[in-house]
Subunit: 1006 residues, 2 copies
């Protein structure tokens, strides 16, 4: 701490007020309507819209009913105070200003690990989203920092920077207290003194008492008032906005009461979003009509540009053929995924770029990158090579007149090429034309790069990109600087409003000092001196080494987790591992919970014992910075994990107060889909399907007993608090809670397994019970949702039906379960509360087949093999898969094309026949016919006996020579009708051998 | 200004935060539910309850839909920002701390007129009230300062000081801007930039768009949720409170929409108050169960006391028989009415006090008083006179035994009296007892006063009194010091936690400096030196002189208004008149409006032209302070009046956009009383009654035409904005708007006059039309409201029915209109939507008679004369009044007792006769009987011809000697029955002469 006495809670607010007022912010008041976040205050929600500048700061008491813990959690509660700042437009260095504001309240960045961790914010209710970060202070999330991209459904221009401080967490940290309730509020009273009792009462109200029926009525009234205000001419923006907020709060209460099902949720969101959009539109219209009174100095749109014309590059004195090059794109913290992707893209794009621009030379390093920089380092050609070229001109006839004198056309062409007419000669490629030969002198690399580096940068694409300034450029996160050097010269360009230069920045912990690099060659060293491990591989290795050493110190080891390692590697510039500890008692929580919290929420490495691989009460975090004051940082991270575990423990304690079965009634209040009833209705359908499905899958009576019980309980964990908080633990908690409720482990495992596999490559259910329930679950979803028209369209798949279909396919195929989908779907359909047409069942089968096709292609099967089988076998995925595999092997046989072509000939010649001819060769005296007839009869008997691809193709192979001979010797289309029909009938029967087995016409070469 | 650059709006808030935080206040946030005032924030509404200390400060955006002016008014709008401070308990000098806070934001009390003007705050919805002031800054109300007495229906102990700053007004003042919209908010934007558009939109929503049906539903839902939260065990205090606030805001919106009738209003208030009471009770219970965690140092209830035992007074060396005395009760600003009353009380009580305590001497001045002090100045006896007394002991027989030796009883008595047995002697009053003679030595005045001054102070009573500290003493406003001197010695006592002393305080403008007085004799001079005109008469004269001079300067004069003069006199200690001016254009507003604003709202004296008594655009205000910087103060007062007139102009403009008649439909939405229908229903009843009433009062056809039209319009102004704002202008605006709507002036006047007289002494209606409508109006109210059981009870008279009855009485009596109430009431009853029983009509007549009786007594008639007449004439108030007047004169006649006693003898002797005897004296031969019979026959003929008091009494006077002689000569109760019946019959007929005229048995001496 740089100041001796920590500030009181209210003093921190006053300091922030002073800080932001002195940075040009208008100080605003909390809103007088209950909101979930400061974002909803019109000072943000409306003012970020439109072109006018706006800088504002205010406190916002924010209500999240779902976060209530009856005062039992050290930092989680249904109401907390945000400190909200909006900077519009982006001032260019908002992160630095923000870090200064932390210093103003006593947080020294040199003593802590302050981290910008990817966070993509979205408010479905407000039709708003933005990209940015959570700011972590020694692992504790203290701020949300967002570049607002859209609000009320409108793209924002300019973009606003939104900074939302979690005041309680910051003050807890400053005051060194472990519970929010112990915060010194004003020097006399604690935060608990003034808020705890209300917190508990609100919890009771929100979770237990708020009347669902009345809240639903309130929502409808608010919505109607909002609509009325919008329908007024002119629209009453603020009155409408207030009611949208009231809708939102009421929705949150309904949600906390568990009264919102999945579809209602979507419906509510759609309604709120629609209102928010109308409010935003009305506000935009209003400000336009007011002629943007705050836009005193109109933003000159010419002031910013995506790419400016490069200044004339300085004259270059090249002393060598090649020269060292560096490009560093300095950015605000990139998400780990975006950093991975950008490195991949650059690795591919940069060599191509050099090739395209003819600047290839000896050495191209792999791109380097940290959250704050993407770098290209290479030795390249100092200039492009010279080239000889020939340009084609007008036809000879047109170029010279009768007396051989050049025409105007010839003169024009020569002039255009910068040569005299006398240089024209017949074009070497086509002598009917004139042409001209020219030498293109290679341009200096500096010029070429100056012109083209912007396009290279612009070519980087990200899953989600953002805008931040008037240049309109979209990137993963804002670009703040470029280092672009060729030798010792700056490659001049401007992109996204940023001028290239020779200055990079040090680490955040060091205060991001400016570091000037004299030449490209010095760049690496400059980073090294700044303690930045810019090369991802080096960084990854350093982390592995450090965490292993730290784990060893605790006598443990780190289980492999490449995904986590990759992510952590991409979160830091200067990794320093620290070993933290948590209270033993938390080890009593389910392991999956502990690990989920560590990895998903905190990006910590769990430590297990070396021998038994048991989880220990240690964890390892990677600090972004050096090892100074590591004890403070460790302590902070431990506090954070403790609070997280307290939260989990709270859930666990509450959840285990009831048996798993006792959660079932609550499922009745959780709507699955309005037309398809509640989750409880769904469970009942699954229960009803389970024995029928079991019968088809040869499940024993004992297993059926297990399956029946597990089906009854399979969804109960959805309404437990742990699963509401950590959705990824569904099934896992079900298993855990089932065991604790006295269920057999077979039942518990079946509950867990019915979700398997969750994705291609995940484990499969081990038990029949899990398999059966999983299939019943998925078939029920598909039948019901398709029946009411909710099949996925385009990329939208809100019900995850693609995953459900894939699950069916994986279970059936990989467990070798042959299964008539149509029959099963009819059973599932019979239990739906809506009518399911046959056409719907066809659609579902086709949909599942689509997933199967993708899966088989992913597994390397030839598409033609897959398609040929699926046409006839879609109803039985396992059978389809195995047949496709067999067919694919046949396609590799050396005589395949021979087999195919003889068979194809049979098909083609009979394809247009409308009628099905009898198999009767008596009218034909030709011996070849009789021979073929005999061969056919033998083959048909075999195929009928075992109608599969292998038998079919074996027989077709056997027939091929006979068929060939038949076509050689006889004219099928004989003039005599009876003879013709005898021959055609035979051929038609051969063609029909594949019916119901495979459609060979789909195979390549047919 | 003491600081050069005025602060921005947000800077003022920060300064106040700093100021109050440094004074121990917790800084709180505005509430996230829409409220009408900071008081409703739980930081006030709940925290003021119970014994725990609590000091808090916060901003509160406060919403008053009715105050919206579509942004057209310079400082009136539906939302404004309060700065709210709660100090609990009273720190002892909250006014001084408050004045320091003004200094902190740049308001120097020496340069301004800062005034504490009585304001009694009440929130019917919250069941809360308190006493205190509006603080005026150069005439502008900038703060409400209240000692909270009750909240949620619970008496507060300790009392909280509530300080509510009107931030906009203060900042307008500081920045010298004339409109709130021009306030510099943050150095860049104005208040209008950020709020104006919303203000206008909210106005449209509140006044025009908010859906009454939906709001009514919301109210019901909120109420139900509040009840549910309260019904929970334990009650969810804060959740319930939130919903009470939502009820309140919704009610305000309904009210702004004009959807709340008079009764609904009362009903809503009762419901909200009931909820607020339950919330308060639950909060109190909760804190008690929590064992008052903030009560770390328990308040020692012995620390405070109403009256402490006086310290032993110092030994006194009296050098003279009499000594000068002064008592000053130093108070926070008393309301003008309380000051008047206290002065009256002291004027009567102090001489009686001296008499009782035997300290009378030569000189007692009238009490002096200003808003901040009540003073008694006198020369009194330095000590009580000595007294000889004799005390009665036991009976002689019990005092001495047979041998004359004193018994134990005698010894005990002697010991009790502090004498030896030998001093006993027979008691001089009754020698059957022993007694003892003693000399009581008079006690020094200092001792007597020290013991008894507290009771003198405690004897002062006020219409509304308040508590402020733990002593529990109630007074008009807090007592902060006592000067109590006898000669040069302090008379020691403590009252209300304040110790007496010799230190008074100078004026507020001078910073209330402490002024020590060496002796009682110097007190007057000390005040004079401090420029305090402590004597009310002197002050009044000074004001009269100053305002006359000021008016003369403007070439005008001040119309007499003793009430205003009295009030203004009691608002200042150091009066300085200032002459202000307002824009000519406002003179276009109705004169009554202009004057009402000046007098009622601002306590300004209007200035009229000397010749024509036309209102000028000048006004005179009395500053409390000297003439330094009078220009600043004048300027401030002018600004205030301008804003008020802008407001009135706004109303007027809006009101006159429609014709008066067009307001009638709106009356249909204004409920008069649920069972009695809307105001429009009432108007229809008045219209129906008018011609019938007119017929009984001999109204001409022309006049009836006028009356009919006026009756149609008489209540239309109730829904105009001007009357909603200034209720006292009802009828006045009706007249004004009628004229502007093209009605004849007769109709307009009748509308105005139907309210007359408003109070005893007010003018009467000049026109028959006004008279008729006024009677119809009042009779309709009385008949209807009595019929549904809403007759006034106790002191409660929410429908002002006493005033209605008095109005009837005054109109009839003073306009000499004889009128059978019963007939009229039957007409009125016939139009009611409810059944009106005969009994109800009797009750109404009795009720009106009650008012008549009070009126007649007020006019000086003897009660017995009034009662004697009212018994028989209550049905006709005018007749009753004139008869009572006649009777009262008779009671003064010298032979009255003679007249009465002879008549009374007739009454008394026949009073118990059950039967009515025939008048038949033939059986009686006694000549005296015949003589009396003749005399009776003559008298009876006269009385029957003119059955009034005067005729009756003239005849009784004529009969008296004959009656006397009759009783002398004959024995009425003769043994012969026929003779007896003849005599009794005659006497009974004489007694019956008064029947239907007057009941003389009610007269004194009967």
């Amino acid at each position: 701490m740089t100041i001796s006495q920590p500030l009181s809670f209210q003093h921190v607010i006053l300091k922030l007020h002073d800080f932001w007022a002195s940075h040009g912010c208008l100080l605003w008041q909390p809103y007088n309507v209950q909101v979930g976040a400061g974002t909803m205050n019109p000072a943000t929600a409306l003012r970020v819209l439109g072109p006018e500048p706006w800088n504002v700061a205010y406190v916002e008491p924010s209500i999240r009913p779902d976060d209530g813990r009856y005062g039992d959690n050290p930092n989680r509660m249904q109401q907390f105070l945000q400190y909200q700042v909006i900077l519009k437009p982006d001032p260019g260095n908002p992160q630095e200003i923000y870090l200064d504001s932390l210093a103003a309240i006593g947080i020294d960045r040199a003593q802590h690990d302050i981290r910008f961790v990817e966070d993509n914010w979205e408010s479905p209710a407000l039709g708003a989203w933005g990209l940015g970060w959570e700011v972590w202070l020694d692992g504790l999330e203290i701020t949300q920092f967002t570049y607002f991209q859209q609000a009320g459904g409108f793209a924002l221009d300019p973009v606003s920077v939104e900074i939302t401080y979690g005041l309680e967490r910051i003050v807890m940290f400053l005051q060194g207290v472990r519970s929010v309730w112990d915060i010194d509020y004003d020097g006399q009273r604690t935060y608990g003194d003034v808020f705890l009792r209300s917190e508990i009462e609100y919890n009771i109200y929100n979770y237990e008492l708020a009347d669902v029926e009345r809240l639903t009525q309130m929502y409808a009234l608010y919505e109607a008032e909002a609509k009325a205000a919008l329908a007024h001419e002119p629209p009453l923006v603020i009155a409408a906005h207030d009611y949208v907020l009231k809708c939102s709060h009421t929705f949150n209460l309904l949600d906390a009461r568990g009264a919102i099902g999945v579809t209602e949720r979507a419906g509510y969101f759609a309604r709120m979003r629609d209102l928010a959009r109308q409010v935003a539109a009305a506000y935009l219209e209003q400000r336009q009509q007011m002629e943007y009174p705050w836009l005193k100095e109109k933003v000159d749109s010419g002031q910013w540009s995506v790419v400016s014309k490069p200044a004339n590059p300085p004259a270059i004195q090249l002393t060598s053929q090649s020269v060292s090059f560096v490009l560093e794109i300095g950015v605000e913290e990139l998400p780990a995924g975006d950093l991975s992707s950008a490195l991949e893209q650059l690795k591919a794009a940069f060599p191509a770029f050099l090739r395209e621009h003819k600047l290839e030379a000896s050495e191209v390093h792999h791109p380097i990158g940290t959250p704050r920089r993407l770098g290209l380092i290479a030795t390249i050609a100092a200039r492009q090579p010279d080239e000889d070229i020939e340009v084609k001109g007008p036809p000879l006839k047109a170029a010279y007149d009768a007396v051989g004198k050049p025409t105007k056309a010839a003169e024009g062409f020569a002039k255009g090429q910068g040569v005299s007419v006398s240089h024209l000669a017949p074009f070497s490629g086509d002598e009917r034309y004139v042409g001209v030969k020219k030498k293109i002198v290679g341009r200096p690399a500096l010029t070429v790069l100056s012109e083209n580096l912007p396009s290279l940068i612009a070519s980087l694409k990200f899953g989600k990109a953002m805008r931040w300034n008037a240049s309109g450029v979209a990137f993963s996160r804002p670009i703040r600087w470029f280092v672009a050097l060729l030798g010792d010269q700056v490659i001049p360009f401007e992109y996204a409003g940023v001028q290239s230069g020779r200055t990079t920045r040090g680490t955040r912990a060091a205060g991001s000092p400016e570091i000037t690099t004299a030449s490209a060659g010095e760049y690496r060293d400059a980073l090294k001196r700044a303690n930045i491990l810019a090369d991802p591989d080096t960084r990854r290795s350093a982390i592995v080494e450090q965490i292993s050493a730290a784990a060893a110190k605790a006598g443990g080891s780190i289980p492999d987790d490449p995904n986590l390692l990759e992510e952590v590697t991409h979160l830091v510039e200067q990794p320093t591992a620290l070993l933290g500890t948590f209270e033993d008692r938390y080890l009593a929580l389910p392991k999956d919970v502990l690990i989920t919290v560590m990895k998903k929420q905190q990006r910590y490495f769990p430590v297990t014992t070396q021998q038994t691989s048991q989880l220990t009460n240690h964890f390892i975090a990677i600090r972004n910075g050096n090892s100074d004051h590591l004890d403070i940082v460790t302590h902070g991270n431990e506090d954070v994990l403790r609070a997280r575990y307290a939260d989990a423990e709270y859930f666990f304690k509450r959840d285990t107060q009831k048996k798993l079965e006792d959660y079932l009634p609550r499922l009745g209040t959780l709507t699955f889909q309005v037309k398809l009833g509640s989750m409880l209705d769904r469970v009942k359908r699954i229960e009803a399907l389970t024995p029928k499905m079991a019968a088809l899958l040869n499940v024993s009576d004992d297993e059926l007993t297990i399956a029946a019980r597990a089906a009854h309980l399979c969804k109960a964990d959805l309404v437990t608090q742990m699963v509401i908080e950590f959705t990824s633990l569904q099934g896992i908690m079900g298993r855990e809670y089932a065991k604790r409720s006295g269920e057999s482990s077979a039942v518990a495992d079946a509950i867990f397994e019915h979700y398997l596999p969750r994705y291609a490559g995940d484990q499969l259910p081990q038990s029949k019970a899990g398999t059966v329930i999983g299939l019943a679950d998925r078939l029920d979803s598909l039948a019901g949702l398709f029946a009411i028209g909710l099949a996925p369209t385009g990329s939208a798949d809100p019900w995850a039906l693609r995953r459900a279909a894939l699950g069916i396919v994986l279970v059936l195929v990989d467990q070798h379960l042959s299964f008539r989908l149509r029959d099963e779907l009819r059973l599932a359909a019979a239990h739906q509360p809506v009518k399911v047409e046959d056409k719907t069942i066809d659609d579902v089968i086709a949909f599942i087949a689509g997933r199967l096709r993708v899966m088989l292609l992913d597994r390397g099967l030839r598409y033609d093999a897959v398609d040929a089988v699926l046409v006839v076998r879609a109803d039985d995925p396992y059978r389809a898969a195995s047949e496709a595999t067999v067919l694919a092997k046949w396609l590799q046989e050396p005589d395949w094309s021979d087999v195919l072509s003889n068979y194809a000939r049979c098909v083609r010649i009979t394809r247009d026949l409308k009628e099905r001819l009898p198999l009767d060769t008596r009218a034909d005296a030709e011996p070849a016919t009789a021979t073929l007839r005999e061969a056919y009869d033998r083959a048909a008997a075999k195929v009928n006996a075992q109608p599969d691809v292998n038998t079919l193709l074996t027989e077709l192979r056997g027939l091929k020579d006979t068929v060939f001979a038949f076509f050689e010797k006889v004219l099928v289309m004989a003039e005599d009708e009876s003879i013709r029909k005898a021959r055609l009938g035979l051929v038609q029967h051969i063609a029909a051998l594949s019916e119901g087995i495979v459609d060979l016409s789909k195979v390549e070469g047919f």
